[in-house]
């Protein structure tokens, strides 16, 4: 290739050299550059995301309504009314429970920063999202949730709060800069965090599990649902596990088979690990497989409770230590 009379070839050579230079430059500089570009594209991405969300919602509405006939729609409405009544009853009961709990929920030190999903990952090989937020206090390692319940001034402080609030943990911040951050979703292959696996019992159901004794050893105990709420209730002590993403869902390896984990059990964050002061629900067990190497252990597959493909508004949890600062 002759370069003499063709200036565009010199440009191409320059671009090639720039590429090679970028490949061997420190990751920090290139990351900064990426963040800067994302920040410039932010308004366009925001507008595009809104269009996409609107289109998806409209599409769902259209596909949902056109299929049903008049009678089916009427039946669906009646069913909906029945469900709404049940929901009202449930919420009344929950208000009562919450009022009792409110005494324990004062002084919650965490702060939630509202953030918005700017754009989905371009390449489908990883599960990451870019976020925009208004504060500069976000650091790498901060967790991200979907709901504001813990923001209420009279809220949280008990481990069992996940039963009340339905705050789904969706991931953690892996890269943060002024007004921009990268959210690593819970199903990302690189996601790791200590978590607790709660065995649940549904209304009208009994479940027998092995409970560790104070002297040592295990004892068989049967638990039943209290019947106070229609929601499943946790029983026994939770099993500490390490939650890992595998690209599609969350995988918990080497869980002792004696815990008898079943589909429907709930995975929450570990409040004792120091990352979060409360347990936030992450996902629900969808499959349990016995490990081939050792039959005493099982591999548990957990489906995230939040719809990660439609994440729009999220909340970054600023840990208590930094709120104090």
């Amino acid at each position: 290739m002759r370069f003499g009379k063709k200036p565009s070839r010199w440009v191409l050579l320059g671009l090639g050299l720039v590429s090679v230079g970028m490949m061997f430059s420190p990751a920090g500089y290139t990351d900064d550059f990426r963040q800067l570009v994302l920040w410039v594209l932010c308004p366009f991405h925001g507008a595009g995301s809104r269009v996409a969300l609107h289109l998806r919602t409209r599409f769902d509405q259209i596909t949902g309504t056109t299929r049903d006939s008049q009678d089916e729609r009427l039946r669906a409405l009646e069913h909906q009314i029945l469900l709404m009544r049940q929901l009202i009853d449930y919420q009344r009961r929950q208000i009562g429970t919450l009022t009792k709990w409110s005494k324990n929920l004062t002084g919650f030190p965490c702060r939630l920063l509202p953030a918005r999903v700017l754009a989905n990952q371009v390449s489908p090989f990883y599960n990451r999202r870019s976020l925009t937020y208004s504060s500069r206090k976000v650091l790498t390692g901060d967790m991200v949730t979907t709901r504001t319940v813990v923001l209420e001034p009279n809220s949280p402080a008990k481990d069992e709060i996940f039963v009340l609030g339905r705050n789904y943990l969706v991931g953690r911040i892996v890269h943060s800069q002024a007004h921009m951050a990268t959210l690593q979703l819970v199903n990302d292959p690189h996601f790791r965090m200590p978590a607790l696996l709660w065995r649940m019992v549904k209304p009208g159901q009994k479940r027998t599990i092995y409970v560790p004794l104070s002297k040592g050893g295990l004892a068989k105990r049967t638990f039943s649902h209290s019947g106070k709420t229609p929601a499943p209730e946790p029983i026994g002590q939770p099993c500490p596990v390490e939650a890992r993403g595998d690209g599609k869902q969350i995988v918990l390896k080497h869980v002792p088979a004696s815990h008898e984990i079943r589909p429907g059990d709930v995975l929450t964050s570990d409040s004792t690990a120091g990352l979060l002061p409360i347990g936030l629900a992450i996902g629900q067990v969808c499959k349990v497989e016995r490990e081939k190497q050792d039959a005493h252990f099982v591999t548990v597959f957990v489906k995230p409770l939040a719809d990660l493909s439609r994440l729009q508004d999220v909340y970054i949890i600023v840990p208590p230590t930094r709120v104090m600062d």
């Binding site: 063709k6 565009s8 070839r9 440009v11 191409l12 671009l15 090639g16 720039v18 590429s19 090679v20 230079g21 970028m22 490949m23 061997f24 430059s25 990751a27 290139t30 990351d31 550059f33 990426r34 570009v37 994302l38 594209l41 366009f44 991405h45 507008a47 595009g48 995301s49 269009v51 996409a52 289109l55 998806r56 599409f59 754009a119 989905n120 990952q121 371009v122 390449s123 489908p124 090989f125 990883y126 990451r128 999202r129 870019s130 892996v174 890269h175 990268t182 292959p189 690189h190 595998d246 690209g247 599609k248 493909s309």
Partner: protein, 176 residues
């Protein structure tokens, strides 16, 4: 080649890919599969560019834009533009053997382009031991390439309308 017009098209493609294009993605047992609009645009420019240098620069710019919008973890910045430029040069050189206006040609070229680009990109992950399941990734790559190949004729059909503006016909009688 009108570069300003090309930059505008590239930026629109990046924003489209990041937002509205997400509606076209679907979940499979091996992970998410969706089309790469930027690869389709790169194939169009590789097929219709006047010179090989133009095709390579187009590929490099599109790869660079894609690289900029990837959040961590990703192979080091700069690898994707190089592969895009290389693949564009390859497509430019073999396009003479086909009728570039034909839908099948565009689909095959796009499939090859995606397979080479993302295959090499994944190989980097494999080389540094970061990939999870090789089989899953390979199947995902195949689905990704096929999906992109399907949408490429549509992208080409849209971009062909701007062909005269992107690649103005040179006058045979140059003014002296």
């Amino acid at each position: 080649m009108r570069w300003l017009f090309f930059i505008l098209i590239s930026l629109s493609a990046v924003i489209f890919q990041n937002t509205v294009c997400q509606l076209l993605w679907f979940r499979t047992p091996v992970g998410w599969v969706g089309p790469d609009v930027l690869a389709a645009v790169a194939v169009f420019f590789a097929l219709f560019s006047r010179t090989v240098t133009d095709a390579a620069i187009n590929g490099w710019v599109l790869g660079f834009l894609l690289d900029l919008t990837i959040t961590q973890p990703a192979p080091p910045m700069g690898l994707l533009p190089l592969i895009y430029a290389g693949a564009s040069i390859g497509i430019f050189h073999i396009r003479g053997a086909f009728f570039k206006e034909r839908v099948l040609t565009q689909m095959v070229m796009s499939f090859l382009f995606c397979f080479i680009v993302y295959g090499l990109w994944m190989s980097w992950d494999l080389a540094i031991g970061r990939t999870g399941s090789l089989f899953d990734d390979a199947v995902q790559l195949l689905g990704f390439s096929i999906y992109t190949a399907i949408i490429t004729p549509l992208v080409c059909k849209i971009l062909v309308r701007f062909e005269s503006r992107l690649f103005p016909v040179r006058s045979l009688f140059k003014k002296r």
